[in-house]
Amino acid sequence: MKKILLASAAIAFGATGAYADDVKMGVLLGFTGPLESLAPGMAKGAEMAIKEVSESGKLLGGDTVTPIEADSTCVDAAAATAAGETLVTSDKVSGIVGAMCSGATTAVLQNVAMANGMVMISPSATSPALTTLPDDGLFFRTAPSDARQGDVMADEILEKGIKSVAVTYTNNDYGKGLADSFEKAYEAKGGKVTISAAHEDGKGDYSAEVGSLASAGGDALVIAGYVDQGGSGILRGALDTGAFSKFVFPDGMVSQTLQDNFGSEINGSFGQLPDSAGQGMQTYLGMAKAAGYDGSSAYSGGSYDAAALIMLAMEAANSTDPKVYKDKIMDIANGPGEKIYPGELAKGLELIKEGKPIDYEGATAIKLIGNGEAAGTFREIEIKDGKIETVKYR
């Protein structure tokens, strides 16, 4: 009896395996938690790519793709792992777009993806630690590592002739990672970091922190923090006591809030954030608008690209098995071949089928380097007359 059951089960599974024409794709993002406001725009990006491919009917000779959303939260590694586990074992997805925050991503990668040989492409995990983490070639990200931002920021500061800076960072993985990578890059290029001090978010008073930063001195102050948190407190304190008059703002600080609250007080200060210009982004923004959402929301374009990369790689490998198509992702992203922009996924699939090489550019001008992470374009900004203005892209 037992044998018959087993046999019939095996047949049933074999049958679904052989005739399956619906590929499932996990969209594992932090729908709840500290970055919940960003998740909807990212999910819509990924799902738009999935819909585009599904409707074209060109993936592996007519497969459809169904997105399955799951909540990775942002700070709860256990919840993220459980959600990832469900996607892989019960929903049987063939690839995962996600996770969202660096901590959750690390947890899912180590506990779920590597154990099951599942491909993950995160649109938004930026911790430098993920660069060196062993991943069996299963993990990629369409967001640049913060190490790259440290490098860009160091160049920017030195080009302005500033040779010594004080650094303060928010006391978490993001702040520490960014501060460390910046310090390394800046000192290697000949600059001097007078102090690199952490600040805790959510305190009422930052005068002591500002006091030590001022005492260490420097021609400018780099604030690797959050504008809605301690970063603003430090900036306010430094302005009030006259400790610094020039500031450098990484991505966590550049926002409308900064302009509204400080305006002309910080004229001449500058910063940068991951952002891309160009044809791909313009096309993507138009498509998002037509679909009824805001494509300029952070990492939304990167999510589209993450999903698109997975599906194009499946076609290139002629398989939906993550262990097989994982090797194609770098080729698809880096070319050489015809450039593929958002909205041209069907064309990309056709070219691959014809055996021609493609170079997927996508919304964010994707170029994967090293262990499979975006090289990253950054938008350099400067505060002029109380307004944030774009200087250039680098």
Partner: protein
């Protein structure tokens, strides 16, 4: 010139911030000390009373701003302060009626009262969050500076900046006025004298015909007023966030105990001891040393403790005082 620069740096980064912070702590500690000496328990709900009072003041301030009422160069919150005091004191009296009265009637031990106040603390915690939320709020308006860094540099030609914010001046002036009023009230008025009598010897005070209910009520009203003033000044000077006020409980208790709990003069002295230790021990003295000792620049920051350890400073002082001089600097009483 270098000596002057050193002096300005110390004033800008240590003396001015520590004086303002010390005044805020002193007002908080006065409230704690008053409850301790008259009602005979440590009131753990004091930090959250401050948060509640400040929350009310902020709401009224917003109301005034919406109506277009302002206080010239002074923050509108000062106009809202009296209304905040009335509401907070009413809440204090209500809490006493509903909670503390019963425990006084059954003559609960002080430690039981302390636990009761922890319960009150949690309720008030939630109440404040319902009222105004958990976010950080800046509600200071009016002129920001008395002297700002640029004016100072133009005025004196010195390289070191000195700034004096109007909220820092307001804090110190208000604190002086409040302390003067409190001491006048305790020393000169009939009610004040009966409160001191009640504090010194409850039985004797009752025998001589002092109405205990009246003393308790007045104590709560003053505590509510002190908490609201201290909280509003702290919020004006820094910013309001419910959780920060809860954290203030530690330095406030440290101030009260260092000065000698139950002793109003001690509470004030304690506030300044704690604030100057916190700021002074975590300040990086490199700049000052560089100015004072010519031709020598220290490699490190000459910082005794990282600023992360600010609260550890009050805690350490608290423990040292409890071990070596439990009655505090100005002989307080230990129940």
């Amino acid at each position: 010139m270098d000596f002057l620069n050193a002096l300005v740096a110390i004033t800008n980064y240590v003396i001015i911030p520590a004086t303002a912070y010390g005044a805020q702590l002193a007002l908080g500690a006065l409230g704690v000390t008053l409850v301790y000496s008259i009602l005979r328990f440590s009131n753990f709900a004091h930090g959250d009373t401050m948060a509640f009072g400040t929350g009310v003041v902020i709401l009224i301030t917003w109301g005034f701003q919406a109506m277009g009422i302002s206080f010239g160069p002074l923050p509108t919150a000062l106009l809202a302060l009296p209304f905040g005091i009335v509401i907070t004191s009413a809440l204090m009296l209500g809490t006493d009626k509903v909670v503390y009265q019963y425990y006084r009637k059954v003559k609960a031990a002080p430690v039981v009262m302390v636990m009761v106040s922890v319960g009150v603390m949690f309720i008030m915690n939630a109440l404040t969050r319902f009222l105004i939320g958990v976010d950080q709020i800046n509600f200071a308006d009016g002129a920001r500076f008395v002297i700002n860094a640029r004016q100072w540099r133009e005025m004196t030609g010195m390289s070191e900046p000195l700034t004096l914010r109007s909220t820092q001046v307001i804090t110190v002036v208000t604190a002086i006025l409040v302390v003067w009023a409190l001491f006048w009230f305790l020393g000169r008025t009939r009610t004040g004298k009966s409160m001191r009598a009640f504090s010194d010897n409850e039985d004797l005070a009752l025998l001589s015909g002092i109405d205990p209910n009246r003393v308790v009520a007045v104590t709560w009203i003053i505590t509510g007023a002190l908490a609201t003033i201290a909280g509003t000044l702290y919020g004006l000077d820094k910013s309001f966030k419910a959780f920060t006020y809860f954290q203030l409980l530690l330095p406030i208790f440290a101030s009260a105990i260092v000065g000698g709990i139950g002793n109003p003069v001690g509470a004030i002295a304690g506030g300044f001891v704690i604030s100057f230790s916190e700021v002074g021990l975590t300040y990086a003295w490199k700049k000052v040393v560089t100015y004072l000792i010519p031709n020598w620049e220290p490699d490190g920051l000459v910082q005794l403790l990282s600023t992360d350890y600010k609260y550890a400073v009050s805690f350490t002082i608290l423990i040292l005082v409890l071990i070596f001089k439990p009655t505090g600097l100005f002989k307080g009483k230990i129940v």
